[in-house]
């Protein structure tokens, strides 16, 4: 009797465990993508901004312009990656 009644509970437990595992896998994937994409690009943007400031202080206009072009591309890339991730998380946004 007890054994029969426990069965559905065990199924629910297994289902819950599976759901939690799925949610956690998704969270791990998001963390990985955030680290690998936008976070790296923001590191690059910070370095490039610092490089451009020094180039300007040194009067090296070409190097500064080149740095700004690269900085802009990195910002566009970061923005694209975040947009893609947002769409994956909640498509209507």
């Amino acid at each position: 009797m007890i054994g029969r009644r426990r069965q559905p509970l065990d199924d629910r437990g297994a289902l819950l465990e599976h759901m939690l595992k799925t949610v956690e896998d998704e969270r791990a994937l998001i963390a990985h993508r955030l680290h690998d994409g936008p976070q790296q690009l923001l590191t690059a943007i910070r370095l490039l901004a610092d490089g451009v400031r020094h180039a300007m202080e040194d009067g090296e206009a070409d190097r500064a312009r080149e740095g700004l072009d690269r900085l802009e591309r990195a910002a566009v890339e970061a923005s694209d990656e975040l947009r893609q991730m947002t769409a994956r998380l909640y498509p209507r946004w």
């Binding site: 020094h54 190097r63 690269r70």
Partner: protein, 222 residues
């Protein structure tokens, strides 16, 4: 050695540029680092690689003095590449350049033969400082991590537990069960078991209790 000899040696050093290889799987990060290093005339960036295998080949071919190496890369990671490069070319200095500031990773990196460890959120000038320091034969560890090296805890060889593993062992030490830990951390009991198992392997513990005791003894948890 007299001070005049030392002065001569440092003058010689100034006449040569430090040859640097940049290894990172993000082109934008490589560009940023290059821009930071370009402003110092004593430093020349002689190459770039986007993964460990390419870095080994480039190191062989271009013979840099210093290699600035990312840790997490697709394919061969920075630790393995560092191990191979420093084994084959002991004169080359590798600086690990990473977003991860955990003590375990720092220990692992230094074990691999790296002579420097710079965090990606450090002020950009620190990269220049680190390159020059290791090129002169010294070592450089990010100031926020340097205290870890001189603390009594670090004098023993510590296993590198992840933040999650430490968190879970800490909860076990406080008497929580696997299901309780799972619901507290919003993860599945299966994942809790995996973390505990991994921590036991790292600590070379036969039981959960032994793992908790070892972690407490090494001050890996409080």
């Amino acid at each position: 050695m007299s001070s005049s000899q030392e002065a001569e040696r440092s003058d010689e050093r100034l006449t040569e540029q430090v040859r640097v290889l940049i290894v990172d799987d993000h082109a934008a990060v490589r560009e940023g680092v290059k821009m930071i290093l370009a402003r110092d005339r004593e430093i020349a960036v002689i190459g770039e690689s986007s993964n460990g295998e390419a870095a080994i080949e480039m190191a062989e071919r271009r013979r840099p003095d210093v290699i600035l190496m990312d840790v997490r890369m697709r394919g061969m990671d920075g630790f393995e590449a560092t191990r191979r490069i420093t084994a084959a070319h002991p004169s080359m200095a590798v600086i690990l350049y990473t977003a991860h500031g955990e003590r375990g990773l720092l220990s692992e990196g230094l074990d691999c033969g790296a002579r420097g460890y710079v965090l990606k959120d450090a002020p950009p000038d620190d990269i220049v400082r680190a390159v020059k320091r290791v090129a002169e034969g010294g070592a450089y560890v990010d100031p926020t991590l340097a205290s870890e090296l001189v603390s009594p805890k670090a004098t023993e060889r510590l296993p590198s537990l992840s933040t999650r593993e430490r968190e879970i062992l800490g909860l076990l030490a406080n008497g929580f069960s696997n299901p309780e830990i799972a619901s507290r951390l919003f993860i599945s009991p299966e994942t809790v078991r995996t973390h505990v198992r991994n921590a036991m392997t790292k600590l070379e513990a036969d039981t959960r209790t032994q793992a908790v005791a070892l972690a407490l003894r090494h001050s890996l948890i409080e």
